[in-house]
């Protein structure tokens, strides 16, 4: 046993043209969260407490796509989801469709610790959150100016963006531009106004 270890991520599918200032911002947040987790492990906290604490930190910072700074639905709202799993006994908890819970990962933890279930979604999850007294905020708290602009671009490009980039017009496949769901017009089948092929990769 080599002692404790920790890893964090802030999402894959990074835009190759990400400006240097954004890269520095992301590195700063990752370093801060990593150090916080490492200090907690050094102090003897358990693995499940540390992963919850670190993901809360990442949810609170608007730099990444979770909690505040979450991607927006086509209606311009936020619907968040999270899960947590403790290798000790393989216990787990998950939530989806949250729109007012400030830290989704902590509600997932409560599903694991204080409910008979392993997964609660939408209204049921929000009701459970009220019962448990977790911090709840207005949906607008999660919405950033930048993401409102991104959603507008996505709608104009008629696309679902997996890495926040505007599809290059005429892109005929997702792989041609890493991480993008460009509208590919295979056949006529549409869903939500988009070619069905759009959803397959998603």
């Amino acid at each position: 046993m080599r002692g404790w270890a920790i890893a964090v991520h802030g999402g894959a599918g990074v835009d190759p043209c990400l400006p240097a200032v954004r890269q520095e911002e992301a590195r700063r947040v990752l370093s801060r969260c990593l150090k916080k987790g490492a200090a907690a492990l050094q102090a003897g906290l358990t693995a499940v407490d540390v992963v919850e604490m670190v993901v809360r930190e990442l949810e609170t910072d608007p730099v990444f796509n979770s909690g505040r700074g979450s991607a927006l639905t086509r209606r311009g709202t936020v619907e968040m989801e999270a899960s947590i799993m403790d290798g000790r006994g393989r216990r787990c908890g998950a939530v989806s469709g949250l729109s007012t819970v400030k830290n989704p990962v902590s509600l997932a933890r409560l599903v694991m610790d204080r409910s008979p279930h392993s997964y609660l979604v939408f209204d049921g999850a929000e009701e459970f959150a009220r019962e448990q007294g977790v911090e709840m905020v207005d949906n607008s708290y999660f919405i950033t100016e930048e993401n409102v602009g991104m959603l507008k671009l996505a709608k104009e490009a008629n696309s679902i963006m997996f890495d926040y980039r505007v599809p290059i017009p005429g892109v005929d496949s997702c792989s041609a531009s890493a991480g993008l769901m460009g509208a590919t017009a295979e056949g006529g089948l549409q869903m939500n106004g988009l070619p069905i092929s759009m959803y397959a990769p998603e």
Binding site: R2, A5, L41, V51, G87, A94, A108, G179
Partner: protein
């Protein structure tokens, strides 16, 4: 999407993942992050957190596959991560981070980049993107 995987001083592993999902997604859409065994998994061997194209991660039960490759094929953590990313995603684009009960840390991705960081008790610390 954000995630964290940890192995503590007692060798216990844990994983957590949280996301806002996809920009311009339909209301009601659920991705891989909350699905245990796909976006998140932890057992007494390792802990895994995934990010990327939800459909590919769900279909490949990516997080559980890393643990199964270690349990049943006896692969090391990095070998299991590399195999899962290389062989399980078909055309999908994704990345993952993982730790093992022995204190190893590993990651893999087939996208252009993945925001990531890792640290171990012996003082190693790294933050990367590309």
């Amino acid at each position: 999407t954000v995630g964290c995987v940890v192995v503590d001083n007692n060798g216990w592993c844990a994983a957590a993942t949280s996301t806002g999902g996809l920009m311009n997604k339909m209301s009601g859409r659920i991705g891989d992050s909350p699905l245990i065994g796909s976006g998140t998994y932890a057992c007494d061997v390792c802990a895994v957190s995934c990010t990327g194209e939800g459909e590919a991660i769900i279909r490949s039960t990516l997080a559980r596959d890393v643990a199964a490759l270690m349990e049943y094929k006896g692969l090391s953590l990095q070998e299991a991560v590399d195999y899962a990313i290389k062989e399980r995603l078909d055309e999908g684009k994704a990345g993952l981070i993982a730790v093992s009960r022995n204190g190893e840390v590993a990651y893999g991705f087939n996208t252009v980049g993945m925001f990531r960081g890792s640290a171990t008790q012996d003082g190693f610390m790294e933050v990367g993107i590309w």
